[in-house]
């Protein structure tokens, strides 16, 4: 098969090398074979919309490659990004299970490979394979945890500075960077998108970054951000 958008499409889940590392995909052989027959492997370019909030659920999207932006939108067009989904995550899960409209909008920010499964097929699959059902419960738990986190940060944080500091600390805690004295992180999002993650304006994010740099708390090298003073960032995240 040709590789659209420069992606290497993984045709079969049975031969996927990444499978063992992914919560949902690591199914037993019987379940995996059943999954194989109901899924459609598809590729999307950057900026494609997988589903829009309010649409009635068609099915689930297993993200194999690339990242997807999950957001909610107000009627006046104001957007809030809930999460950047990474490979291995199942999208549209709760809506598909409950039959209610999708709660979020999912838009690709890289070229992505997505395995789509139709709603009826997926529900039947869950009933037949308790192993898969349990994994879905785990995935939902993860999402719930994330949503509670979001509620806490939106409802209880005082300022945009506090929320930005929290976000940077969270990002820097990935990939084992947190043990380092000066953790580094790749800023994969624009200021606009960061603003939408913490519920503020693009201008505020730019101003906050300038302030953090002036105070030598962070330093940017290209798209990499180095946290120079972790203690100060933590202090910003906990009070102010």
């Amino acid at each position: 098969m040709l590789s659209p958008y420069g992606l290497d499409i993984i045709e079969s889940c049975l031969t996927c090398k990444m499978r063992a590392d992914r919560i949902f995909c690591d199914l037993n052989t019987a379940a995996l074979q059943a999954f194989e027959t109901i899924k459609y492997a598809t590729a999307y370019p950057k900026g494609a919309v997988l589903f829009v909030e309010g649409q009635s659920p068609r099915g689930i999207f297993v993200l194999c490659k690339g990242r997807v932006k999950l957001s909610i939108c107000a009627t006046d067009g104001k957007t809030l990004i809930l999460k950047i989904a990474e490979p291995g995550e199942v999208l549209g899960l709760s809506a598909t299970v409950s039959g209610k409209p999708y709660e979020l909008t999912a838009e690709t920010i890289d070229p992505c490979q997505v395995n789509f499964v139709k709603r009826e097929d997926f529900l039947r699959f869950l009933r037949d394979h308790s192993d898969a059902c349990f994994k879905v419960a785990e995935q939902l738990s993860d999402k719930y945890n994330n949503a509670c986190h979001e509620v806490r940060s939106l409802g209880l944080s005082h300022s945009a500075g506090e929320k930005l500091a929290k976000l940077l600390l969270e990002w820097s805690s990935r990939n084992g960077e947190s043990v380092k004295v000066e953790p580094r992180l790749k800023l994969a999002l624009t200021h606009e998108e960061i603003a939408q993650m913490i519920g503020t304006s693009r201008e505020t994010v730019t101003r906050l970054f300038a302030d953090l740099k002036k105070r030598q708390i962070v330093q940017s090298k290209g798209s990499t951000l180095v946290i120079r003073n972790k203690a100060a960032l933590k202090a910003l995240a906990t009070n102010s």
Binding site: A74, S94, A95, S130, A147, V151
Partner: protein, 161 residues
Amino acid sequence: MDSASHQSCFDCLLRPDRLFCDLPTHALEAFDSIKCLVHYPRGSLLFEEGQTARGIFVLCEGRVKLSVCSETGKRLTLRIASPGEVLGTSACLAGRQYEVTAESLDSAKVAVVRRKDLLKFLKNHSEACMQIVHLLSQDLHIAYERVRSLGLGRTRRVRIH
């Protein structure tokens, strides 16, 4: 509280109306054997945010307030849970800390199931697992609604710094 305290789930008259409790006989038997019925007086804490999840709490009677707390001690009520709901599921399944605090608003009766027993129960009874998946989806819907109202609601407009 009168003497309506049903020890066994089989004697519970409200069971058919409740999403989680309406299980097939063999699953209900298994559930009956692993649950432990606890009475909580009004204002007691079922579990606290940050505690490692010990188990799930099936609310039989009474209402429970679910809230989150900031480092400074400010509290935000997420919602009020009513009888029939299962609390602490997500933390329990993921083996994490409870993400909310649950406090009883009335004198409450709760069926508690330990984590270890729950995991075994769900693996053996796919119907129960499916119910849990449904309940989690509902919880998630409510949580997203809350995110929407907090993040995009009009009240935020006033709080510009």
